[in-house]
Structure formats: structure tokens, C-alpha cells
Amino acid sequence: MKLGRAHSSTLLLVRLLALAISLTLGAAHANDYSDVAQLLREGKLAEAQTRVDRHLAAQPRDPQMRLFKGVIQRESGRPADAIATFTRLSEDHPELPEPYNNLAVIHAAQGQYDKARIALEKALRTNPSYATAHENLADVYARLASQAYSKALQLDGVPQPGPARLTLIRELSPAPASPARPVLAAAPSTAASKPVVPAQAKPAVVAAAPAPTKPAAATAAVPAPSATPPQPPAAADSSNREVELAVRAWARAWTDKNMTQYLAAYDKSFETPGQQSRSAWEQDRRLRITGKSRISVNLLELQITVKGNRAVAKFRQDYKADALAVLSRKTLELVRTGDRWLIVKEASGG
């Protein structure tokens, strides 16, 4: 099963890259990518590296080329370099599963399974629906295990828990596909050297939008795998993106037990629950969060409404900490403060 997943994630990457290559990139790019891929298949690491270096000299931020670079380093027996490459790539593109995945491969090969596991968990977290399927599968396994345990302990007469309630995904998630894939595809936006795709294009998101679009319409034919049906036009969309990134960063800080980032996600005007002082509330959060050995926070069905400088994010919060697992509704209210979106109110339920 795990192997299968790894397979499908890689296949997905391959497909998306192919898509990116064929649809959104100029011939030069496509040639570079497919040439490097071909050289790697043939084990011509030195030649591949030359091509990659040349490409990166012109476009140092190109994520696909950086991924190639890391792969070449790894295959040439330079795991430390590869780790550095993949780590930087994951820092620049925390939404991409592939760098984390590859980091995990290297850590595992070095017997550092704890690190591999953390990396893989981060890879899974880049895609909420992927994570949901992962958790659903885990639930199914847990139920199967429960049945086997009951047979082991001969619990014939004991009532079993009700049927497993797996999480239904109601919406296609915009987060993974829009940032992850287009970033690969639209990498030139940072390098700004290819006129083929306009720099501001957000192909996948815009793709399904019925609204008349700018030159990005060129990509409208792309059957975006994750288009969210009613999308406001691009301007509002970018605010939505910012809010979404802020909310996801908050959830990630919580998961990572990074208290500095977690607390920094809350605005000064944040309404602390029970009218605690800010410092008392912070202390309480610290104790609760750092006291757990493991936390995972996944956001499901994230919906964002932006009005001017205020935004509301509603989602189902899938929170797991040690033995605890709580699935609840949550609403965050955020305000734009400078170039950041900060939480001013946090409410559960409803």
C-alpha cells in the first residue's frame, strides 16, 4: 500500500511535469527537462549535471531543475549535497511534496528513520486531500487490525465499534494543485525570461474560471485536476491565496510545535478565550502544545471569504495529538496587517 502510494505520487509528478512541459513551457524548456530526464535514465550523470548547471545559471530558481540537481547529487553519491539542495527547495516551495519525499529517501538510506518520517509527513501535508485519503486508509487498517485483535483475544460476544466513518472530501482542494503544479509549470515567473507564459499567470486556478481571463487563457485548455468551481477573479483570488497560506502556515506551526511562528500568527488584537491576558493565554498554549509528543493538524474543506482587509476562514480541523483525535469545525477571522494576514478571532464549532 505504502509502496503503491509512493508510486502514485511519483507518477503524478511525472504526469504533471509532462503536462507542464508540453503545455506551459517553451520548446527550449521542454527540451532541457526531457533531455536531462533522458540523460538520467541513461545514467549519464555528468552530462545531466552540465545541462542542469547551465539551466540553473540562467534560471537559478527553477524548481524542476533544482529537483534534478538534487537527484543527480544523490545518484552520484553525494547525499549531503542532495540533502542541502532538497532542503533549500523545500524551504522555497513548502507546498511541493517531492523535495520532502526525496529527503526522506536519503534519510532512510542513512538509517535516520525519524527524519525520514518527519519529511514524509511533511510531504503528505502538502496535499490535504492526499492526507485525507492517507488517514482514511489508516482508519480502514485500524479497523482491520481491530478485527484481527478481536479474533486474537476471542472477543466474539463483545460489541464492535460502529462502522468506520471515513472523511468525505466534498471539494477539490485548490491548495495543492494550484501552488504546487503551476509553480513547476510557471517557474519562469520568477526567472521572467520566457514570454510563453505571462508572469502573473496562475494557470490551474484560473483555468476553470468562467470569467474572461487575460493571456493566461492560453492555459485554459489544461484540464486542471483541482479547479475550484466558483472562483472570484484574479485580484480577490490572490487575497484568498494569501489568507490560505497564512492559515496553512498557522496549522503547520502548530503541527511543528513551532511556538514562535504559531503565536506570531495571532494579531495583537486577538480575542483571547475567557478574557485571559495575552501572556496567560500564550503560556497556556505553550504548555498545551509543547507538552504533546506529536501533533498533527490538517485542514479540510477550507473555505475563505475575503472582504477588503478582513477575511474569514472556515474549515474542518482534523487534530491529532498523541492518543487524542478530534475532528471539529473551526472559524478563523483574520485581518490584513501590512503584508500579513493575522488571526483576530478563533472559534470552534458551528
Binding site: N101, Y113, A116, L144, Y149
Partner: protein, 428 residues
């Protein structure tokens, strides 16, 4: 796309699995409970190939499959282990330990397994908790027996001399929950198979009726009961042994009906401590034993902990006893009653007869033989050492010129450097 190359994928495949296991192992290293020791062993120590592994395909096959699953799990092949476990529980749905391992392997797909038999608290309450510790204990015992294999060619120290009539011999090691079956070939005593067994709920060293303990000593199989004549509870059959034996009775031990038997339909095997004193084997194992052993001549040694010795090393040990036995035979051959009587203890018994009651019978036997020498045919002797040193001796007493004679059994006790007889009687 090199990223999709097979080595990377394979690495990743084992990675995820190993992540769970690595964590598992780390926690076990810190853990101190007995239960945790069980999964640790198969993962950390390579199992020594068993001399009986050649026959393992048939005997103890389910256990061999279970151990292979442990091995795969330990080596990180959780997926493969999961498939094997699935197949094992399909073939033996009543093999509770296999179900437990299967449950753990499924669990590793969902979350890290904290310890062996990581049953959710909701399922492991009440008596299920006891069942769970029993299963962990069973796992430990099976692994223990497989890790601590008898040295190749070694025999239990009790088997000083077996006759060709003892075509098989059984030795049970309670400390390893294990039964070892030997074939007595002309060249050597050969280990044929060994099986996981359960003993009494209260353990070993049976003293009184109803103490739920398994007796310790040298016994013989006295019957082979048809499973059709038995309730389901005994599974594929039963092999009663002669508890209480002469030594037991002399020591005032009580109880009866100690059998080797199979398991009820709902259990492939039972906990290490489970019976009322019987020795319980899985049904396939018991069935194999029933087909193999012989009534009256197959000895069953039940020991708290078997001591394994090289066959040649028992030669030296045998000498003082062989000398005593030779002197007894010589006195009897000469018809020297006074000399003969010096071999018997004052508390000697022959079944219900005291020494005084038995001497006339001995005298008439000697008179009838008229100094004709006797031979001891098919001589076997098994040594039992606990607080005292006992020799259980069986032979056919054949006078010169005769073709056969009665089969006799003697119990000798060592008193200082001298061996004396405290029981003698005709058997069979």
C-alpha cells in the same frame, strides 16, 4: 524521469514501513515490560536454524510460518509479512497469536505499533487483558525455544540408555514450553521434531490432585485414545502417561489422568500455562505424535529445564550404575539370596507388597532358576535427579536357554555411592 526510478521507489517503500518499525524498536528498547521482550527477540537475534527444520514443513508448520513473519517484520519487510500473516490466519483462523501479529501488522499501516500486541485499550479490557498477556507469553516461549536450540546431536541428560524397543522418546522442557520428539536409530538418538506445548495453569511440579500442575519426572505413554471417543476439548487425540509413577506414589503425590492431548476447535494453541496438569499440543502436532509414538515403550521425560549433553558424555556417568546393575544380575544368576537382598532398600515395594511380603516370591523365583544365569534384554535406564537420584530401569529378564522372559521395571535410588532398588515389578 530519474525520480521515478525503481531503487528510489523501493527505498521509499521500505522507508515508510521501517519508520514505523524503527520507532517501535526504539520504544521497546526503553520499555521494561515482559511483553515487550517478545517482539524484540525475533527482530534482534537471528534465529538459529533448527535441526528439526527439515521436518518443519510438516510438523509445527504453522509455527514456522509465524516465525517467518517475525523474521520478515524484523528485517523491515512489513508488506510481505502482512501478506504472509493474512494467509496464515486464513488457514488457521483460530491461531490467536497469528491473529495478534496480523493485527499489529495491519496497525503498522495506520500508526506506529508501540509494543507487541498493540491492542486498542477499548478491546483489551477485563479478561481480554489476560488473554493478551497470555498471547505475549506464548510468543516469548515459542521464540525462546527457537533461539535456544539444543546443540546438534545432543540429548537430554536423562536418556542414559535406551533399548531398541524404545523406538521413540519424548522430552519436555517446561522452561521453554517445548516438547522434543526423538527417534532412536541404531546410530543415535535423533531429534525429529519439537513442538510448542502448554502445561498446567499453576505451572509444574504436581503434588496433589486438583493443583492444576504438570508432574515432573520420567513417565511412559500408556495408551493412545481415539479422538472419536473424546470430547472436542481434547482435539485430535490423547496420550495418557503413567502419573503417578512409583517415585511419585512413594512421595505421596496424588492425582491422575495426566495426558498429552490436543486443543479444542476454537483454539489452535493454548497459553503456556493453561491446563489442569496435562500437556497440550496443537492438533496437527498431537496427531503427528499419536501416529509416531508407541504405547508402553515411549518414555516421556518432563523436566523443569532440560540439560543437553553429548551422547558420549553419558558413558562415564553410566559406569557406577552399570556396575551395580551387573552385580545385582550376577547375584541373581548365582541364586545368592543374601547377596541379592542387599540390593533392596528396607522400604522396597513391589506394587502393594512390602519387602517382607515380596521376599518369598523372590526366593521361589531364585529356587526355580537353580543357578541358571539371567540376561537383561532390551535394557533401558533413564535417570531422574531432583532431591534424590533415581534410575528407572526396564528390561526383559531372560534365563539362559529361554527365548523370552517377563519385562521388568526397577526403580533404583542412589544412596551415597551405592545404588539400591526400591521398586521392582513385572510390567506389560
Amino acid at each position: 524521469m530519474k525520480l521515478g526510478s525503481r531503487p528510489l521507489l523501493l527505498l521509499l517503500g521500505t522507508t515508510i514501513v521501517l519508520v514505523a518499525l524503527a520507532r517501535d524498536r526504539g520504544e521497546q528498547a526503553r520499555g521494561e515490560t515482559v511483553a515487550m521482550a517478545a517482539p524484540q527477540t525475533p527482530m534482534q537475534a537471528p534465529l538459529t536454524p533448527s535441526p528439526a527444520s527439515g521436518t518443519g514443513q510438516v510438523n509445527g508448520a504453522a509455527e514456522a510460518r509465524l516465525i517467518e513473519i517475525y523474521r520478515l517484520t524484523g528485517a523491515g519487510y512489513t508488506r510481505e509479512a502482512l501478506e504472509r500473516a493474512e494467509s496464515l490466519v486464513r488457514d488457521h483462523p483460530n491461531f490467536q497469536l497469528a491473529q495478534l501479529v496480523y493485527g499489529d501488522l495491519l496497525t503498522t499501516q495506520a500508526r506506529p505499533v508501540r509494543d507487541f500486541g498493540d491492542v486498542p485499550a477499548a478491546l483489551a479490557g477485563g479478561s481480554a487483558g489476560n488473554t493478551l498477556s497470555d498471547l505475549r507469553h506464548e510468543s516469548q516461549m515459542r521464540i525462546k525455544a527457537l533461539r535456544e536450540r539444543p546443540p546438534v546431536g545432543a540429548i537430554p541428560s536423562q536418556f542414559l540408555a535406551l533399548s531398541p524397543r524404545n523406538r521413540h522418546a519424548i522430552a519436555i522442557d517446561a522452561s521453554r514450553s517445548r516438547l522434543y520428539l526423538f527417534e532412536n536409530t541404531p546410530q543415535q538418538l535423533k531429534l525429529v521434531a519439537d513442538f510448542y506445548i502448554s502445561v498446567g495453569k499453576s505451572g509444574i511440579e504436581k503434588m496433589v490432585e486438583g493443583d492444576a500442575r504438570t508432574p515432573l519426572g520420567v513417565y511412559f505413554i500408556i495408551s493412545n485414545l481415539d479422538p472419536k471417543s473424546l470430547s472436542d476439548f481434547y482435539g485430535s487425540g490423547a496420550l495418557p502417561i503413567n502419573y503417578p509413577n512409583v517415585l511419585d506414589s512413594k512421595r505421596g503425590k496424588t492425582g491422575r489422568g495426566i495426558w498429552l492431548h490436543g486443543t479444542p476447535p476454537n483454539q489452535f494453541s493454548r497459553a503456556p500455562l493453561a491446563s489442569d496438569g496435562c500437556v497440550v499440543l496443537s492438533n496437527p502436532d498431537l496427531a503427528f505424535l499419536s501416529r509416531t509414538v508407541e504405547i508402553r515403550t515411549t518414555p516421556v521425560v518432563i523436566s523443569p529445564r532440560l540439560e543437553w549433553v553429548a551422547p558420549h558424555s553419558v558413558q562415564a556417568e553410566r559406569k557406577p550404575f552399570e556396575d551395580a546393575l551387573g552385580a545385582w544380575r550376577s547375584a541373581k544368576s548365582r541364586g545368592d539370596l543374601d547377596q541379592l537382598l542387599s540390593f533392596y532398600t528396607p522400604d522396597f515395594k513391589s506394587y502393594d507388597k512390602s519387602l517382607a511380603e515380596w521376599v518369598p516370591a523372590l526366593r521361589s523365583e531364585v529356587d526355580k532358576a537353580r543357578g541358571k544365569p539371567i540376561q537383561l534384554k532390551d535394557l533401558s535406564y533413564l535417570r531422574w535427579t531432583d532431591a534424590t537420584d533415581t534410575m528407572v530401569v526396564t528390561f526383559g529378564e531372560v534365563a539362559d536357554g529361554e527365548r523370552s522372559g517377563p519385562t521388568k521395571r526397577q526403580y533404583w535410588v542412589r544412596q551415597g555411592s551405592e545404588w539400591k532398588i526400591f521398586f521392582e515389578g513385572i510390567i506389560g
